[in-house]
Amino acid sequence: MIPRPRINPISGAEQVPGNEAGGVRVALDKVRRAFGELVVVADFSLSITTGEFLAILGPSGCGKSTLLRLVAGLTAPDSGHIGITPDDTRFHTAFVFQDAHLLPWRTVLENVALPLELMGIGVTERLGRASAALDEVGLREAESRYPAQLSGGMRMRVSLARALVTRPRLLLLDEPFAALDEITRFRLDARLRELWLERGMTVIFVTHSITEAAFLANRAVVLTRKGCGIKLDRRLELPQVRDNEMRAMPEFASEMQGLLAAMEEED
């Protein structure tokens, strides 16, 4: 098993010495992306520090997915600049989609090993690392099953393990748990937060859920309906280590209130 970096939960993950994964800094500078006439992202600037957990909230169709795809390099901006430092991100960015998107003809283990396979890593090493990644999401015992034999929550965990297997420095998630029941969702939120604390990677998490954003993130950005304007950019003052009890805390309620107010406000 790969040794996990020890971190101080109070000071945050970015100061971890010897953390081999760590995070990256992401700087978007006047980024613009249009589809034909439709300007989806207009002059968008945002700076995300190393090891930050950022939640992006916004109305449906406002361009959140487009923003994530721009950061991942899956689509190019028409103008502006996206800087990621350190710049060795080719194999250090991982993406989790709203649905699991597994390969139905491969076992769970082979699905998780896929990114390593595409990167050209030998079979013994990649299966070992895939096993370890499955361990991290609590799915070791399902490794020889096929996706069709899993529940929705299990499939999503496989998808998460597939993203984690390369030890990414930048983890992008596009409404990953939106299709799951609430209990499963709470569990996966808690696990993701733990993994983030352990690894100190930079996370950008797109969601429609205010509760989820407040529970997970250290910083939340609320976007306007048109052109990806930033309505609110707020640091969430909540404990680093979070569990379900935090959901009942007054501080949690007040952070949610703040996000809700921004969401409801007219553009």
Partner: protein, 249 residues
């Protein structure tokens, strides 16, 4: 077997109804033979009929195999770029619209009487659905998965063989299922002109007003098509067992 049972019921009803109608004189026996006469012919002429069936089977299977291999290869080739698609796909469509009956005499000129003409005819008739389904299957790969492959720097060939081709498999098998039925039709048409097998039996029996024999040959040809269809279904069950693995439990 139990699943096949409902399909036999209409068959039995039609056979019984035909038999009674012909015996009652409502239908002339030289237009539609009574099923009992067809059955008698099947037994009486079994050597000729089953020999013909064997030939037709070989012709249809060979044509189908060529279509499967060639169609998948052409489909994969066409999927490689939109420029290639624009240049060649119209010809594939054109190939499909060629009326086989009209070019069958040409096939005889090119390939002579016998098996080669039959195989060519079966091939020409059955290749298009394989090409079209392979192509659509490959092109309709889940965009999210394509993004995933791009993210990890997969080469075009890795993307083809680890993602696009396997993802297209269900659709390719659908193409093969259609091609199986068409290959039998193509083989029979080829035999009409190329002179052998069930096609030739039908052709000769027709000129002799032997509708019973025509029906017997048609029956065997249909059974051949059915068998091929069943075989391809079996094949796709095996190939796709992981897609639907939960159904087995």
């Amino acid at each position: 077997m139990r699943k096949a049972l409902p399909a036999f019921i209409p068959f039995v009803i039609v056979v019984v109804a035909l038999e009674s109608l012909v015996r009652a004189g409502w239908i002339k026996a030289f237009l539609v033979p009574p099923p009992s006469a067809v059955f008698e012919t099947l037994i009486h002429d079994w050597r000729e009929l089953f020999g013909a069936l064997a030939k037709t089977s070989v012709g249809a299977l060979a044509g189908f195999a060529l279509s499967a291999v060639g169609g998948i290869a052409i489909g994969v080739f066409l999927s490689s770029s939109s420029a290639i698609r624009q240049a060649f796909y119209p010809y594939a469509v054109f190939f499909q619209t060629v009326p086989i009956i009209a070019i069958a005499p040409l096939l005889v000129i090119w390939f002579g009487y016998g098996m080669r003409t039959v195989v060519a005819s079966a091939f020409i008739v059955s290749i298009f659905p394989v090409i079209a389904n392979t192509l659509t299957g490959i092109l309709s790969t889940d965009p999210a998965l394509r993004d995933l492959f791009i993210l990890y720097g997969a080469s075009p060939s890795a993307t083809l063989w680890r993602l696009r081709f396997p993802a297209a498999l269900p659709q390719i098998l659908t193409g093969l299922r259609i091609a199986g039925g068409l290959a039998v039709i193509g083989a029979i048409v080829g035999e009409f002109i190329g002179g052998q097998g069930l096609g030739s039996v039908v052709d000769v029996a027709r000129t002799q007003q032997r509708t019973d024999k025509v029906f017997a040959a048609v029956l065997l040809a249909s059974l051949l098509g059915l068998a091929l269809f069943g075989f391809i279904n079996l094949l796709s069950r095996v190939a796709l067992r992981r897609w639907h693995v939960s159904e087995q439990n």
